[in-house]
Structures are given as C-alpha cells and as structure tokens.
C-alpha cells in the first residue's frame, strides 16, 4: 500500500527521471529556440519599421502658414540601429540552427552551437541595454543636460519602440536560460561518459 500510494517504487521513479531528462535535452531547447526566434524577430521588425512623422506649423509669413514635417525614425539613433542589427543577427542564427538541427549530431557541432549561442546572447544583451538607455532618455529627458523628452510629441514611436525593447529583453532572458541549460546538459553528458 505504501509503495502504491507513496512516491512509487524505484523503477517508477527512474522512469520519471529519464523521461524528464529526455524532455530537457530533447524538446525543451527546440521550444526555447522557437520562442527566441519569435521574440528577436518581432523586436527586429518592431523597431525596424518604427517611424512617425508629425507636421507642425512653425511660422506664419504674412497670411500663409509654413509647416515643417518632423520625423522620428530609428535610423537617427546609433543605439537603435545597433539594436535592430543585433536582433536580426540573433533571429537569423536561431533560424539557421533550427533548420540545421537534424544534421547537428556530433559533439563538435554541439560545442560550436554553444559557443555561438553565448556570443549571440551577449550581442542581444548589449543591443537591448543600449536601446533601453536611449529610450529612458527619450521618455524622461535629462534636465541637467537640457535634453527635452520626445515621447510626449512622438507617442506612437515610443510605444512601438517600447514593445520591441520588451520583446528583446524576453529574447535575451530566454537565450540566457538556453545557455545555462546547454552548459548544464553538456556537463552532465561529460560526467556520464567519464
């Protein structure tokens, strides 16, 4: 009775553990990669297509008003350009790994994938950090440097940029989880072979 109702016999628990291990090493990395692809791809598109123009009357000469169009686009800020490029690199790399997944069976392949994973994670993290720093400045301005905030004038630009930034942060976090998982499973495989 205790064996049936309790934690189960030794055979039952080892089955559960092996199933869990199979899931961690098999399907979880693929699911993570698909999620990362979606997140970084969405961030790239969201910031890459981010543009807002506003027309305002600047002066009145006689009776004719002169209007000027002010454009907010991501190309004006180097940090946002780097953000788009970094997320594009990450999404292309993950797409490549997902497509080549059946062919990557050897140990050397796994190590190169892990190394490139770490590089891509760093690139995405730096892109997100730089863009977040500039976005905070655009939202709050800096009174001491006499830099005025721009989000009150270009609300849609800021909203889309914020969504892209949030997606990139999620992608970066998932990349971190994927890296830690890969390192731990690699270490476990090494320990199992020894």
């Amino acid at each position: 009775m205790a064996i049936e109702n309790g934690k189960g016999g030794e055979i039952g628990s080892s089955n559960k553990y092996s199933k869990f291990k199979a899931k961690m090493t098999g399907s979880l990395p693929v699911v993570l990669r698909v999620a990362i692809l979606l997140a970084t791809g969405g961030a790239t598109l969201g910031m890459g297509l981010n543009k807002q123009s506003k027309t305002a009357v600047v002066a009145v000469v006689g009776t004719t008003p002169i209007s000027q169009t002010f454009v907010a686009q991501f190309q004006d800020t180097p940090a946002f350009v780097y953000f788009v490029i970094a997320n594009a690199i990450a999404s292309f790399y993950n797409l490549l790994v997902l497509v080549l997944q059946p062919h990557l069976k050897g140990k050397a392949h796994n190590i190169w994938v892990l190394i490139f994973d770490m590089v891509v994670m760093t690139v995405v993290a730096t892109g997100a950090a730089a863009a977040a720093s500039i976005a905070e400045l655009g939202k709050n301005g800096n009174q001491h440097a006499r830099w005025n905030p721009i989000c009150d004038n270009f609300g849609a630009f800021c909203c889309r940029g914020a969504i892209a930034l949030a997606e990139s942060f999620v992608g970066s976090l998932l990349l971190l989880i994927l890296n830690v998982l890969s390192t731990v499973t690699l270490r476990k495989n090494v320990a199992a072979h020894d």
């Binding site: 993290a125 730096t126 440097a145 830099w147």
Partner: protein, 160 residues
C-alpha cells in the same frame, strides 16, 4: 597543469575584481561644475540612470568576484559558480553597453531630437566617464577569459 590553471583563474578573478571596483569608484567620484553664459552647469553621475546602473553593476561584479575567491573549487558550489559567472558577465555587458550609448550621445548629441552635445562644456566629467568605461571594459574582457577557462575545463574531456 591543473594547479597552474587554478592559480591563473584565481589571479584573473582578482584582476576582474580590481578592474570593476576601480570602474565603480571612478564613476562614483565624477563630479564637475562649470559656468558658461551665466548658467551654472553641474554634472554628476546620479543625474543619469545609466550611470547609476553602471556603478551598481560594477560594485556587484566586484563583490561577487571577491566572494568567489573564497570558495574552494572542489565544493558543490562550483557548478553554481559557472552559471552565476555567465549571469554576472551579462550584467557587466549590459552596464557597459548602456553607459557607452549614453556617452556617445553626450559626445555627439542627436541633431534630430534637438539634443546638443555637452562634452564640450564638461570636459573633465567626460574624461572621468571615459576612464570608468575603459576600466569596466577591461574587467569585462577578464570575465570573458574566466568564462573561456570554464569552457576549457568543461569541454576539454570531450576532445581526447
């Protein structure tokens, strides 16, 4: 060979702790007041969130490095240290990236947003920030070397 590697990593962590500590201190002591055209302009690191994050991140990294030096490498914490090494490296990376973005803005301004460059007025502050950035970058490179060593120790058995 293994002993030499361990001594090497010990030294690297010591250097990383020193570099990040210096970066945090240099940024925290950056302060300049100038006056031009009758305006007094004061530049402190607290006025910018990115710089505050930079100081905090470097302080955390420095404290963590010193803490890890006290852990013997054969204890059960060594696996946790591998994961936290990656996390602290990411923290340092994002701090350097955010401060770098803001420094570039301070140096060149952004014409389209109407933000004028301010490094011309607060030259000493800009130099201070540049020094702190360089120190943190060196600390980051040392952390990268530490991560490479972790890789070598983990992956080496796979290359017989």
């Amino acid at each position: 060979m293994a002993k030499a590697l361990r001594a090497c990593v010990f030294l690297l962590r010591l250097f990383a702790a020193a570099a990040t500590l210096v970066a945090a201190v240099v940024m925290a002591t950056s302060h300049e007041t100038t006056s031009y055209f009758g305006f007094t302009m004061e530049a402190k690191f607290q006025y910018t969130s990115s710089f505050v994050f930079f100081v905090i991140a470097n302080a955390i990294a420095s404290g963590y490095s010193l803490l890890v030096l006290l852990i013997p490498s054969t204890s059960s914490f060594s696996r946790l240290v591998i994961a936290t090494d990656v996390i602290i490296g990411m923290l340092l990376t994002s701090a350097v990236a955010a401060t770098g973005a803001l420094s570039e803005l301070g140096k060149n301004g952004n014409q389209h947003a109407g933000w004028l460059p301010i490094c011309g007025q607060i030259h000493e502050f800009c130099n201070h920030v540049m020094g702190a950035l360089i120190c943190a970058f060196v600390g980051l490179l040392i952390y990268l070397l530490i991560l490479f060593h972790t890789f070598y120790v983990v992956i080496n058995p796979l290359f017989p």
